[in-house]
Every structure is written in structure tokens, then in C-alpha cells.
């Protein structure tokens, strides 16, 4: 058995090493066809070619290639700004052509050739409102004109004649992906075999022998002696890897094109088109839940609750989060995850999402109605009957990953009172932020105005997307598994968890029942609570545990050596009981 496990470990590490090696080992060869396909604008192709030495040349490193692209875009923009932008001298000339009152006619100093006309036209567009304005001094007028000129450069020229920041971001990614050559690009399926299949095989060989590790029961031996599970060097290394992975995924996808190319065949098979970065993410995410789900089931095979619950998260991730949305795309329907709920699904009410749904006939309308029904009916009704666990530890994808890939780290959550205080402020602040952000987005959707009290709703939503959607939920949420436990996002950040939690705390049949006076204060329950609830605090005083954050994973009950804790849905009366320890008949006192 030891040999099989060792072989599994070797296979896994081999697959994982090859996977990481492919990050660095592509060759990049840019050519004119790629450029015209990606730019759709021959004039841009020409000027791009003028400033780059990347065309028809092989580059051996993604860093060099992406840097080269970035430099080329900058040079193109510099040239176009120089060419089409109004220069300092020209600003002076305009100022000198006016007295205190500015007149658009003074723009004639810009000349009448093609470029001069362009400059006049753009100034008219951006600074037309200056016509007839009077200024106290030449300096004032110059400042105002310079301002207009800068806006033209920033919003008009780079966009029309060059490449603005969004185009640069997209093009860096799509050009790199299209230019990738080498082993992975020419044979992606073979590399799936060498990486994913090898890793899965290795993981299974490592995990399945655990069936032989003695009779079914709690298997927590050595957790706090482990370099992986007790924030030792291995855990820290894993955390760093995950954090870097998420940062690249969300903010620098152009570097990971080889990984995305590798799953193109899978994407082609499922939805008939090439993979994007979020297909890759979904693919890896689902595999992690499935493989580590098998581990979870074996580890807790004595507990039917844990086994069924783990099957549930494996199913919802595979079917609802991964397969159904991709199949919908194949059928030319909107991408839709039927189990994702606003405000976790923070872009549900974004204009582009709403437009897509509304443009897709009755199915689109159904999807919109379904999503809204989950928010206003599904959440309160199901939480009333079952607690928030119906979602957080049975259905949710974030929860699914936390309960499978994250299970080895559940003991790392902070149980201090201080952490609980921080948690309550933070998670409700994110909920408020999500509501305000969504409100702003809908306001813009209905009124067409993008400003509320001086704030751009687009800015608010992009701040939310970057800091909460990507930064908190992704980088911190998963990257910090080996450092702060597997529910950092769910506990401190998830606005849906906050909403579910409010219902659970005040209107639900769910509670963890404490069994009379049987608690021995050993601390297993608190230690293994991934949400950082000090379960023992309640258990040792004979009190039921009713906490908004409890996701009902049931592990406190599983690890309790004395059968003290039980997850129950019951009569709401007596749910918030007074602490009472059964057994001491001489005294009646609250503990």
C-alpha cells in the first residue's frame, strides 16, 4: 500500500511539474495573418508592424513576448499621439489666437490638411463647450485647453488610432494565444494526458489506499504535525502557488495561454469553440472538487451525512456550474449557472447580462425569473427549513471547493473572539457594497445616467469586480486555504453567505443541538470548525449553537468524541435555549 501511495505521489508530482513547465516552454511566433485576424483593421496592422520586431520571429519566453507586445502598443500609441494629438506649441498658438473669450474659429491655426482637420474635429467634439467662454487670464485658458487635449488623447486617439488599455489587455492575451507554437499547441491532447490525467491518476493512487488505513472513523492523526496542514513550509508554498495562479488568472491571463490551449480540445468537445481562461478555471476547479471529493468521501466514510453531502457538491459543480452552462453555449443559449445566486453572482444584474437574457426569448426570461426567484423565495424558504447549509455546504461551488480541496485546511481558521468581530463587520460591509453597487448598476440601466452623487456606477462595479470578485473571492478566498483555512471568503467576504446568515440567525428551524451535559470541552469541534465558530463555548454550557455563519458542514458533530453535537431542523421554539447542563440536580443554574 505504501508503494502504491508513493507511486501516486510520484505520478502526481510529475504531472504537476510538467503542467508548470508548460507555462514556460511555448514558442511564440507572430505573423501577419494573426494580426489581421485579431485587429480587423489593416491600418493598425501596418503601424503595429512598423514598431515591432516580433513578426515572423520566434520568441522563446512568454515574458519576452508579452513585454514585446506591450512595448509595441506603447510605441504605436506614442506615434499616434504625436501625430494626431495637439502639441504644446499648437496649444500656445490657439491661446494666442484668442483674446479673453475663446472662439472655436481659432482652431484654424491647426491647419487644414488631413491631420489638421482631425485635430479640429476632435477638439470640436471634446471642447466645443468652450466656445464663447471668457477667461481671466491666458494661463486659465491654456490650462482648460490642455485639459481638453489630454482627454482627446486619452479617450479618442488611443482608441481610434492606437490601442486603449482594454484593447491592449485583450490583444495581449489573444495575440499571445494565437501566436503560441510548440509542443503544447501542436498536441494539446497529449499534454492533457501528461498533466491532468497523470495528476488525477497519481492522486487516485494516493487517495484510494486510504480505504485500507484502518476501520472507518475520524482520521485526523498527525494533522498538526504536517508541513502541509499546519502552515508548514509545504502549506506556505502551496498557498503562494495558489495566490500566484489566481493573480495570473484574473489579471495577467496572457502569460498562461499555453494552459488554456491545452484544454482547447475539451472546450471544443463540450461547446464547439476554443477555451478561454474561465473555461480553464472551471475545468481545473471541477477536477479538484471531484478528485478531492473522493478523498473526502473516503475520509468520512463512516458518516453518511458527509458522504451524501460530498456527492451533492460534486454533482452541483460538475453538472450545474460546469457542464450545463457550456452545453447552453453550444446550443446558442446564454451561459447560465442555475445554482448561482446574487449577490455572490454579483454581475447577475449587469446591463450586458440582462441584455443577453432579455434577448434570448422565453428561456432567457425564464433564467431571469429563476435567478430572481432564488434570491427572494429560494433563499428564505430553504434557509427557514434547512439552514444556510442547503446552499453553502451542499450546492455552492465556493463551498464545494472548500469542502473538498479545502478540507485538509479546515483547522486553520481563527477561532478568537476578535476574528468573529472582524468577520461580522467585514462580511456585512461586503453585502452592503454589493447592494449599493448593484443598485447603481440598475439605476444606470434604467435611467441611462452613469453618475450618482458624483460617482460613476461603472467605476464602482469595476472596483467591486477587481477587489471583491477577483481579489477577495479568488486570490484570498482560495489562495489563503493553507494559511487561514478553507472558508476565508465564505466567512469574511461572501455577501450571499451574509444574506443567508441573517435569515439563519433570525428565522430558521436549523440549529446544532448540544446533548445535555455530555461535553468534555476537548475542543475538537472548535478546532475543526472551518468557519471559526467556537463551538465548544456553547457545547460546554449546554447551549444550542445558532450562528449566522454556520454552514452546516457537520464536521463538529463528526469529530466530537462524545456524541454531543447534532445538526437538526426542528421547532423554532426552544431553538435559542438558555444554557443548561443536565446532570446536576442539586443546583439549577445557567452556565
Amino acid at each position: 500500500m505504501k508503494a502504491v501511495k508513493l507511486l501516486g505521489l510520484v505520478l502526481f508530482i510529475t504531472g504537476f511539474t510538467i503542467f508548470n513547465a508548460t507555462f514556460f516552454t511555448a514558442d511564440y511566433r507572430l505573423n501577419e495573418t494573426i494580426l489581421s485576424n485579431q485587429f480587423n483593421d489593416e491600418s493598425k496592422v501596418d503601424i503595429f508592424k512598423k514598431h515591432t520586431d516580433l513578426v515572423d520571429k520566434s520568441v522563446g519566453s512568454n515574458f519576452d513576448f508579452v513585454n514585446g507586445l506591450g512595448e509595441t502598443f506603447r510605441k504605436v500609441n506614442d506615434e499616434q499621439l504625436e501625430k494626431f494629438g495637439i502639441s504644446k506649441g499648437e496649444i500656445d498658438a490657439i491661446v494666442n489666437a484668442n483674446n479673453e473669450i475663446f472662439s472655436l474659429s481659432s482652431l484654424s491655426v491647426l491647419g487644414d490638411d488631413e491631420i489638421g482637420q482631425y485635430k479640429q474635429k476632435t477638439f470640436n467634439d471634446y471642447g466645443g463647450w468652450l466656445d464663447g467662454r471668457s477667461f481671466d487670464s491666458k494661463e486659465d485658458m491654456q490650462a482648460q485647453i490642455s485639459n481638453v487635449v489630454e482627454n482627446i488623447k486619452k479617450y479618442q486617439i488611443v482608441n481610434e488610432k492606437g490601442f486603449d488599455q482594454y484593447q491592449v489587455k485583450d490583444l495581449k492575451y489573444s495575440l499571445t494565444k494565437a501566436s503560441s507554437t510548440g509542443a503544447v499547441a501542436s498536441n494539446p491532447s497529449f499534454f492533457i494526458l501528461l498533466t491532468y490525467v497523470l495528476c488525477i491518476l497519481g492522486a487516485m493512487l494516493y487517495i484510494l489506499p486510504k480505504l485500507q488505513d484502518g476501520p472507518p472513523g475520524i482520521k485526523n492523526d498527525g494533522i498538526f504535525h504536517s508541513a502541509m496542514k499546519n502552515t508548514g513550509w509545504l502549506g506556505i508554498l502551496t498557498g503562494v502557488f495558489l495566490i500566484i495562479f489566481y493573480i495570473v488568472l484574473y489579471f495577467y491571463p496572457e502569460y498562461m495561454t499555453n494552459w488554456i490551449i491545452m484544454v482547447d480540445p475539451v472546450s471544443q468537445f463540450l461547446k464547439g469553440s476554443d477555451a478561454g481562461r474561465f473555461f480553464l478555471y472551471g475545468f481545473i476547479y471541477t477536477l479538484c472538487i471531484l478528485v478531492m471529493g473522493v478523498r473526502m468521501i473516503i475520509k468520512y466514510r463512516h458518516s453518511k451525512y458527509q458522504v451524501i453531502r460530498t456527492f451533492s457538491v460534486m454533482f452541483f459543480q460538475t453538472a450545474f456550474a460546469f457542464l450545463i452552462p457550456e452545453i447552453l453555449l453550444r446550443l446558442n443559449q446564454p451561459y447560465f449557472d442555475f445554482k448561482n445566486i446574487w449577490p455572490l453572482d454579483y454581475d447577475f444584474f449587469f446591463d450586458n447580462e440582462l441584455d443577453t437574457l432579455l434577448a434570448n426569448g422565453s428561456l432567457g426570461i425564464f433564467m431571469l425569473g429563476w435567478g430572481i426567484a432564488l434570491i427572494i423565495i429560494g433563499v428564505p424558504v430553504f434557509v427557514y427549513f434547512f439552514g444556510k447549509r442547503w446552499y453553502c455546504s451542499w450546492v455552492c461551488g465556493c463551498g464545494g471547493l472548500a469542502e473538498t480541496l479545502g478540507d485538509p485546511y479546515r483547522q486553520l481558521s481563527d477561532k478568537s473572539l476578535k476574528a468573529w468581530k472582524v468577520e461580522r463587520w467585514m462580511i456585512h460591509a461586503v453585502l452592503a457594497f454589493a447592494i449599493v453597487m448593484t443598485g447603481g448598476v440598475l439605476y444606470t440601466y434604467w435611467t441611462g445616467s452613469s453618475q450618482i452623487i458624483g460617482l460613476s456606477t461603472y467605476d464602482v462595479r469595476s472596483v467591486y469586480g477587481a477587489w471583491i470578485g477577483a481579489g477577495f473571492a479568488g486570490v484570498v478566498g482560495t489562495g489563503f486555504y493553507p494559511l487561514m483555512g478553507n472558508r476565508v471568503w465564505c466567512r469574511f467576504g461572501c455577501p450571499l453567505a451574509a444574506y443567508l446568515g441573517i435569515v439563519q440567525r433570525f428565522k430558521s428551524r436549523f440549529r446544532i443541538t448540544t446533548n445535555g451535559g455530555q461535553c468534555i470541552s476537548c475542543g475538537n469541534c472548535s478546532t475543526y470548525c472551518e468557519m471559526g465558530i467556537d463551538v465548544r463555548w456553547y457545547a460546554q454550557r449546554g447551549q444550542n449553537i445558532v450562528r449566522s455563519s454556520c454552514v452546516g458542514c457537520g464536521v463538529c458533530s463528526s469529530v466530537c468524541p462524545r456524541g454531543v453535537l447534532n445538526l437538526e431542523n426542528g421547532d423554532t421554539e426552544g431553538r435559542l435555549n438558555e444554557p443548561l447542563l443536565i446532570g446536576n440536580d442539586g443546583v439549577k443554574m445557567s452556565s
Binding site: G214, P215, P216, G217, I218, N220, D221, G222, I223, F224, H225, S226, H302, S303, K304, Y305, I308, S416, L417, T513, N515, G516, G517, Q518, I520, S521, C522, G523, N524, S526, T527, R536, W537, Q540, G554, S557, S558, V559, P561, R562, G563, N566, L567, E568, L581, I582, G583, N584, D585, G586, V587, M589
Partner: protein, 444 residues
């Protein structure tokens, strides 16, 4: 305002301190030589096994004591001078008290075996024991455990978790059968063997043999066998830790003698927990009760008395629990190892040999007296109520569903238990009442 000093920061002493604080403004000082902060002794094994770190076993965060104005002193009490109400501490000089609570706990039994103080021999009670065990079980091949009670099986589980071979010497013919009836003793014995523990029944320790450096190298058993080993755990029970108290002139038997109010022979000195011995035991109970729960209850009671409401230590119906490797055990009411007069039994065991229930009831009145449950969690509240109401065995069996405390989706055995009862008892048949679980409904 009085100064109340508590010697010992285990569950008894700390419960007393907490309840004194809730009910009064007295100065409270807790002294412990073992550890700076209260920690749960029952979790000792989990630290060794890597399930928890020491800080996880501390039920209260470190700021708790200062916030609740409970002074903690980490020192050793050398003597008690009860005439002058003065304690002599090892490092911190003298301490004056108005009221003294002795909660000094217990120590492992040593029966004068040759070699019992060799290097590599340890009990398993204190934090110091844990450090010692940690040190002397590093990279060893075999450990021998002497005595087969709850601590013995915990120590066996600990060593097994580090892949150390374990031999367990048990004097009785079945594991822990001075407490468990034969059926359960057998069931647990089998489970211990399933975990590859070399369980040797009817086997006594004769001598612990040292190597040339004075370290354990083997044990000799009563039947003349030699077991080579590098560590010996002595877990043949514990006895009250009273040497210092005895020397101070406070009246002691096997433990510190107390009356029903937990008062010792000296006014304003109380004793609670593992170190206390009742002069007249609570009916049906032993004079020295050394379990977590009774220690806690004595702490609750003594606090009331000291705060002016003189309260008798009157525990309710007996309950206890334990875990033997993977098998959980709970008991409510009294199940003795052998049936007493006018007691009848009903024992049911699942085919797996890991799940069982043992009911005891009065032969004449059929009054339910107690249950042992293995692998099935039972609701304390429900059984306490049945015991108080003097429910009969039929009521218990018919309503067993309501007393189940297993997690959702677990297989339920109430019907099987009732069927087994019916097949053994033709005089009256029971049928299980109450709501079926979801799984029962699906599977029919």
C-alpha cells in the same frame, strides 16, 4: 470581600472559580503548578496524536481570566497552614486566604512494581506526562501499556497513531470488565484488536527491565513472558493527589474527606473533584468519583455554598461517555458489570459487532434503570427524563426513536432493537412509535 484561593486549575477548580465570579465580587485566585492556563485534560491524547495543538485544548482565551478578574498563579503549593490560613508557595512566597478550595486532582497508580520509576515509564494524566511520553516514544518500536481502563485505551490509540506497536496488559479476563458487562467488554476488546493492539488479557506486570543506561528495555509479565519495549505506560487507574494536604492536617482517607457540602474537616476549606472522598457517598454512587462531569458539578455546588447558599452535592442520574478508538460509548442511568438483584437485561448487538445497546430494568416493576450504547448516540435529555419519571423498559424501547441523537442520514436501528426484544420476550411485545427518519421512509 473574601479572598478565595483554589488549588488546581482543572475542570473542578476552574468551574468553581467561574461560578464564584458569576455570583460574587470575592477575590479569586487559582494556583496551578501544572499549567499557566486551564486546558481540557480529556484532550491530552489529541495533542499527542496531532488532532489539536495545546492552545486548542484551552476552552477560554487567555484574556478571559483578567477580564473576569480571576487571578492565575503558576506555582506549586508546598504546604497549607490552615490555622493561619496561609499557603506556602514554592517560588512566590506566602499567600493568605479566607476560603480554600482543594481541587488537586489525581495521580496515576503505581503498585510498587520493580522498575516502575525507570526512564521511559510514565502515567498519562498531566501535561508533564505528555511531554515525557512525547520524548520517550520518538522512533520507538514497541510500547507496553499496563492497565486497561479508559486512559489505557487512549494511550494505546495514541501510540498506534504514531505507528508504534502496542502491547496492553490487562489483569482481568475481559477489557474493562470491572465496569462494562461481559458483552460490551468483549465488543470493545475485539475492536482494540482490530487496531492491531496486542491485547493480553489476564496478564499482569511483574517487572520492568532496564538496559545498561537505566532505560526501559522490556517488561516481564506474571506468566513469565518477556516483551521487549522502549516505553511503558502505567494506566492502572488513578488515586487522589493528597500528599501535601495530608501533611497539613486536613483529614484524609483515600482522598480528602468531605461531607455532602464538600466541606473538609477544617472550616472554610473545601475539596472538590478527583481528590475528594465523600464520607457518606450519594446513594448508588462511589465515594470517589473521578470523571469530568462530577468534577464540574462539584465546582458548581461549592461556588453556591461559598456564596452563601449552602448547597448539597446532589448529582442527578448517572451519565458518562467515552470513545474507544472508533467506537463511541454513552451511558445513562446505571449499568453495572454484573446484574444486581432484581435486575434484568436486554442486550442487542448489530451484526457488524461495533454497534450495541444494553438495557437494564427492574425484574419486578420493569422500571428502566440504565442503558449502555455503543455506536449509537443517545439524547441525554430524553433519558434523564425517563429515569426521573421512572419510565418502564417498554416505554423506552417504544420511544427509542425520540432518543436517537445520530446525525441525519445515519441508519436507524430502533425497529431492529425492538424486534430483537420481542423475540426474546414473549410476555409483551413492543412496537416502535414516533416519526420515521427520511431515510427510513425511503428505504421502507
Amino acid at each position: 470581600m473574601k479572598h478565595i484561593v483554589i488549588i488546581g486549575n482543572g475542570i473542578s477548580g476552574i468551574t468553581a472559580a467561574r461560578h464564584l465570579r458569576k455570583q460574587s465580587d470575592h477575590d479569586i485566585t487559582v494556583i496551578s503548578a501544572e499549567s499557566e492556563y486551564f486546558w481540557s485534560r480529556t484532550a491530552l491524547m489529541y495533542i499527542y496524536m496531532g488532532h489539536m495543538k495545546k492552545e486548542h485544548t484551552q476552552p477560554y482565551e487567555n484574556w478571559f481570566w483578567k477580564k473576569n478578574k480571576i487571578n492565575l498563579i503558576h506555582d506549586y503549593v508546598k504546604s497549607v497552614n490552615h490555622e493561619n490560613k496561609k499557603l506556602k508557595l514554592d517560588k512566590k512566597g506566602d499567600l493568605i486566604y479566607d476560603v480554600l478550595i482543594l481541587a488537586t486532582g489525581a495521580k496515576p497508580n503505581k503498585f510498587g512494581w520493580p522498575g516502575q520509576d525507570l526512564e521511559g515509564v510514565s502515567g498519562m494524566v498531566s501535561q508533564q506526562d505528555l511531554e515525557y511520553i512525547e520524548k520517550y516514544t520518538k522512533n520507538i518500536d514497541r510500547g507496553v501499556i499496563v492497565g486497561g481502563g479508559l486512559i489505557g485505551v487512549e494511550l494505546a490509540e495514541m501510540l498506534a497513531s504514531r505507528k508504534i506497536n502496542v502491547s496492553m496488559l490487562v489483569r482481568e479476563e475481559q477489557f474493562w470488565n470491572n465496569v462494562l458487562p461481559e458483552q460490551e467488554a468483549n465488543l470493545i476488546g475485539n475492536h482494540i484488536k482490530e487496531h492491531h493492539v496486542d491485547l493480553r488479557l489476564q496478564s499482569e506486570l511483574k517487572e520492568i527491565v532496564a538496559d545498561e543506561n537505566g532505560r526501559v528495555k522490556a517488561v516481564l509479565t506474571g506468566d513469565g513472558k518477556e516483551i521487549p519495549c522502549q516505553f511503558v505506560g502505567l494506566t492502572a487507574g488513578v488515586h487522589p493527589n493528597i500528599e501535601m494536604v495530608k501533611e497539613s492536617g486536613i483529614e484524609c482517607g483515600r482522598g480528602i474527606l468531605v461531607n455532602e457540602y464538600l466541606e473538609t474537616s477544617i472550616p472554610n476549606v473545601y475539596a472538590i473533584g478527583d481528590c475528594a472522598e465523600r464520607r457518606t457517598p450519594v446513594p448508588g454512587r462511589v465515594p470517589i468519583e473521578q470523571v469530568w462531569y462530577t468534577g464540574r458539578m462539584m465546582g458548581e455546588v461549592v461556588a453556591k455554598t461559598i456564596c452563601g447558599e449552602k448547597t448539597e452535592y446532589l448529582p442527578g442520574h448517572w451519565f458518562n461517555s467515552a470513545k474507544f478508538f472508533d467506537i463511541e460509548y454513552q451511558t445513562y442511568g446505571r449499568v453495572w458489570n454484573k446484574l444486581k438483584e432484581n435486575e434484568s437485561e436486554f442486550y442487542w448487538e448489530h451484526g457488524s459487532g461495533k454497534i450495541a445497546m444494553h438495557f437494564i430494568y427492574a425484574t419486578d416493576t420493569k422500571k428502566f434503570l440504565g442503558v449502555n450504547s455503543f455506536g449509537i448516540r443517545l439524547r441525554h435529555e430524553t433519558f434523564d427524563q425517563w429515569l426521573k419519571e421512572e419510565a418502564d423498559i417498554y416505554t423506552v424501547l417504544e420511544n427509542l426513536r425520540a432518543a436517537n441523537f445520530d446525525p441525519e442520514f445515519y441508519k436507524r436501528y430502533e425497529v431492529e432493537v425492538a424486534d430483537a426484544f420481542n423475540s426474546q420476550h414473549s410476555e409483551r411485545q413492543v412496537s416502535v412509535k414516533g416519526k420515521k427518519s427520511l431515510l427510513e421512509k425511503i428505504l421502507g
